[in-house]
């Protein structure tokens, strides 16, 4: 029985993932209704449960892909992977009005550039406070504070040590997870309830997984706006990091 069930689950990994995610979402909405009387959004609880499962999966398998490192749950890697993620995010745009983006376009662009430079500055500043004095390490850790992809790409381009690259990935992961979990609680304070602020939010935070997760947990209607600017962030960060920003850092140290 056991091995046969396992075979079916593994052979149909994406189908298994649909069932597991569906069950997770169902439990989360039940929690949301019964325990928080709907105050905490069901999707916020589901995302949090996902992160908790990823933590334990990481602790048991010592892999890097959360539950996807467990063979029967490998399909979660497909469902949560770049291909379906991008496809579904593009689909959310179908309900967006063109005027909305044109209206807030400048805001989004300003947020994007400011977001990249501020993240590098804060991350680099903290690296400096922890005793790093070379421009390569400071820029790489700054890149990690942008996203967990900008950090290692910048580090590889600048020939940073593997220890520093690992730290930059760590900083980016912390950022992504914080944005996913904290956004619903911070949203009322920063006026995150309309397309304009969502565009700005996506540009400033930059981490696509974090922004999409955080906005889904706050108000699903805001997702396309935040995603639109956030998807430019990592690419531009990888462009500016090893070039302009590295040059600026070198002026200071």
């Amino acid at each position: 029985m056991g091995p046969i069930l396992e075979k079916v689950l593994i052979d149909n990994s994406l189908v298994t993932a649909f069932a597991v995610v569906g069950a997770t979402v169902a439990i989360s909405y039940l929690f949301s209704d019964k325990l928080t009387k709907g105050r905490l959004h069901g999707s916020a609880i589901a995302i949090f449960l996902g992160l908790v499962m990823a933590y334990f999966a990481g602790a048991f398998t010592s892999g890097k892909n959360g539950v996807a490192d467990i063979p029967v749950l490998a399909g979660m890697g497909i469902l949560g992977g770049a291909m379906l993620r991008d496809f579904a995010i593009v689909a959310t745009a179908a309900g967006v009005r063109f005027q909305e983006i044109r209206h807030a376009g400048i805001c989004g662009a300003v947020a994007l550039f400011l977001g990249i430079f501020v993240s590098f500055a804060i991350g680099g500043g903290i690296a400096w406070a922890f005793g790093y004095r070379d421009a390569v390490s400071i820029t790489t850790i700054g890149g990690g504070a942008a996203t967990y992809i900008v950090g290692p790409v910048t580090g590889a381009a600048l020939n940073a040590s593997s220890e520093v690259i690992a730290l930059s990935i760590g900083a980016g992961l912390v950022k992504a997870i914080l944005v996913m979990t904290c956004t619903p609680f911070v949203a009322p304070w920063i006026g995150l309830n309309n397309p304009t602020t969502a565009l700005v939010f996506g540009g400033l935070m930059g981490t696509t997984s974090g922004v999409v997760g955080g906005l889904a947990a706050t108000d699903p209607k805001l997702v396309p706006y935040g995603a639109m600017t956030a998807t430019f962030y990592t690419g531009l960060g990888c462009f500016f990091g090893p070039s302009v920003i590295f040059f600026l850092v070198r002026l200071f140290v």
Partner: protein
């Protein structure tokens, strides 16, 4: 037919990702720059044009709407496949860098938003 909608969505996605990839290679970064964002704009424009000429049938739209409805579950799968263990055990510097960046960037949201006057959500519910 639903597949028409999904195919429109697929073509917009591929076209956007292609342009993003092109931008990346022009700027000599091995990363896609804004491909998803460009794809979204393409889809918005395509849907608007089809709607205006009354050629966006309900069945066609259902092929897009399914995928737009499925993204919350996809986000749950994204969350479940993050390296959470790695993040929590990344050491004080990485955690501090992540936390301070999030706090700083979030604090800038209301300031930057003020560049444009705020507008409410589009009236129709999706």
């Amino acid at each position: 037919m639903a597949i028409y909608g999904t195919a429109i969505l697929a073509l917009c996605s591929l076209a956007g990702l292609f342009v993003g990839e092109l931008l990346g290679s022009l700027l000599k970064v091995n990363k896609n720059i804004g491909g998803v964002g460009i794809a979204m704009v393409l889809l918005i424009v395509t849907a608007e044009l089809l709607r205006r000429s009354n050629r966006l049938r309900e069945a066609t739209e259902s092929g897009i709407n399914y995928w737009s409805a499925i993204y919350v579950p996809i986000v749950v799968a994204i969350a479940a496949t993050q390296n959470v263990y790695g993040a929590i055990h990344a050491g004080p510097m990485a955690i501090l860098a992540g936390v301070v960046t999030v706090v700083g960037s979030m604090a800038l949201v209301p300031l930057v938003s003020r560049i444009a006057p705020p507008k409410s959500l589009p009236p129709e519910d999706r």
